[in-house]
Symmetry: C2
Subunit: 407 residues, 2 copies
Amino acid sequence: MAALPVSPLAPAGFPVLPAIKGVRFAAAAAGVKYKDRNDVMLAVMEPGTSVAGVFTRSATRSANVLDCQDKLGRAADGPAAILVNSGNSNAFTGHFGQTSVAEICTAVAAETGIDPARVFTASTGVIGEPLPHERITAKVADLNSALDAGALEAAAGAIMTTDTFAKGSAAEVEIGGRTVSIAGIAKGSGMIAPDMATMLVYIFTDAKVAQDALQAELSAICDRTFNCITVDSDTSTSDSLMLCATGASGVDASGNAEFSAALEKVMLDLAHQVVRDGEGATKFVEIQVTGAASDKDAKVHGLAIANSPLVKTAIAGEDPNWGRVVMAIGKSGAAADRDLLTISFGDVLVAEKGWVAPSYKEEQGAAVMKEQEITVKVDLGLGVGTATVWTCDLTHQYITINADYRS
Amino acid sequence: MAALPVSPLAPAGFPVLPAIKGVRFAAAAAGVKYKDRNDVMLAVMEPGTSVAGVFTRSATRSANVLDCQDKLGRAADGPAAILVNSGNSNAFTGHFGQTSVAEICTAVAAETGIDPARVFTASTGVIGEPLPHERITAKVADLNSALDAGALEAAAGAIMTTDTFAKGSAAEVEIGGRTVSIAGIAKGSGMIAPDMATMLVYIFTDAKVAQDALQAELSAICDRTFNCITVDSDTSTSDSLMLCATGASGVDASGNAEFSAALEKVMLDLAHQVVRDGEGATKFVEIQVTGAASDKDAKVHGLAIANSPLVKTAIAGEDPNWGRVVMAIGKSGAAADRDLLTISFGDVLVAEKGWVAPSYKEEQGAAVMKEQEITVKVDLGLGVGTATVWTCDLTHQYITINADYRS
């Protein structure tokens, strides 16, 4: 498959990421599948690091995900490591997949001296093919000796599959006059033929946050960020989001509101970058739902709109087709009353009281749809529930990437 | 929008439909939106006709659907009528929509002498524009005087929007040495810019079946036929399925198994024709799910596979991408165990025991995917739940129809 052009929605460039005290990175070319590019990254965290994670809910999730979930469930201290490879997802590879995970964890543990129960992995790429883990384990010594606090950008590049740009984000917070840093990388939702898109996200901070608090924080913010984006409604077998707090800044950020806000900013930025790299995307779409019977209902409506092929193709065609938004709300299963709905495209009121707004002119809606970033606002008129979700349009390029190219 | 080419999956021609005793049809050109073609149909049933219906569950359903549901809920006898127009869906037209329905029902009642509470309507076409109901009511006298038992094919043509072929199906059953006939027509899921696809189905029989029994039969069979098809997971505001039993054959078919089987055959045939006219469809896909924890779980898995954009684009690309089937099963939310899954494409065993089958060769799967009709078989290995669902592939033409053309 030929290299895809960089998404028109990509940021201007990769951001400058601060070094995070207590964690070092390395990337290497192991030749898992791709030639002449880095495809393995290793992160090593100092003792005292808390590690939290959120993973795909897929019933057919990969051996790596199952292993990470098992390890996170056990309280543990000491140093920790994360090894990620691209090029092969190690998903649906039967018992061989578990062996590959064990071999990689054993190799990392042997080289770094870290308890294998604190070594986490992820794999992304082609599925159903045995992971040539020996190519990865052969590189662990090199990776370990190359560890560098400044190598997070290289790590971001190594976990890409057919992402069209590397994704990073960072924030700094002052707590009690001292600075705490947060930096994260992500991959997704580029396509790797013949595979499904996978989202991998790794975030690091030198703040000190206890394990349970870190997990609670990550899960809560994930619900408002990564769980509010969709490209095509399909869910990978490998999706993984991990947050590591090394504590090396010496600053305890547990329960600190400014830290939470900074973490959410980084997570939202990375989530948006994943949407901006959605397969074939030409429009970045924010769907703001208000007035729903509950926040949960608002999210159900928002995702129904965001996942509707008819809404997404209308946006691709720059068609202010509010009827399809009405349709998506109607089918979502959450409470709605046709005659209480209000729909706007950007700041243009389109429909209200069960019909097109008297003030609405088609050319106003058409002008909004020509923008590269589009906001769809829906008020249900029922209650105080709100949600915001993000998606992209559905274009010929999506079909081209997923149907026309063969592995 | 230029006329679409006839679907490559269309039947060879419109079937010969038997006349159904006790019901007559007429079609006319009212100029609701289209020029020079029939766009209104009227069906008039004799006294003693039982009428059953199943409608969209959309929370934003049309005024016509709300009116039909209200009328079906009230027991009633006497003659009955159905009037359907194409070209305008009368959906999301506020209180004006209710007025349009009332005006049409009043006009039909005045002309035919039928109680307006026994006059049912449906509208399909553009949404959000007021229905010019006066164009329809102006044709009611002509329609009434043209009623003919043999005009069901003309009725099938009148309810088309951008369907690429008219859809009809029929069956005859011998009960106690006498013949009972069933004939039905359908429209869907062609697109009418700038609108959503709508499915309308009308089935007539001269069997005698009590109202409650007829409704129960229709709902049960609908769950195995029309509720098992999907083109793009979007749900119309206007979907309507009605079954009218005139009793004019004098044969009571209540509880008769052969009648039920014949009715299911007609409904399944019409449901398949709707899929065969799916927007941009080039492949007709049957998904057979067995071994699920329950029938309900089996249907959830089947629809998750059938609605997955990644599965549908793989089929469009003739790619035997079983990994995407695994993905769809994993995300469906119903019970699954990766290591107990068995997946076949046609008669080719592809994956089992959590991995690709040792006997599988990619060229075998590729050969199956080149067919125009493809069967995907999934066994969960968990229980005895089964379901079969039908869908089509997702192609460039779907994007072209829904994004590139503007209203």
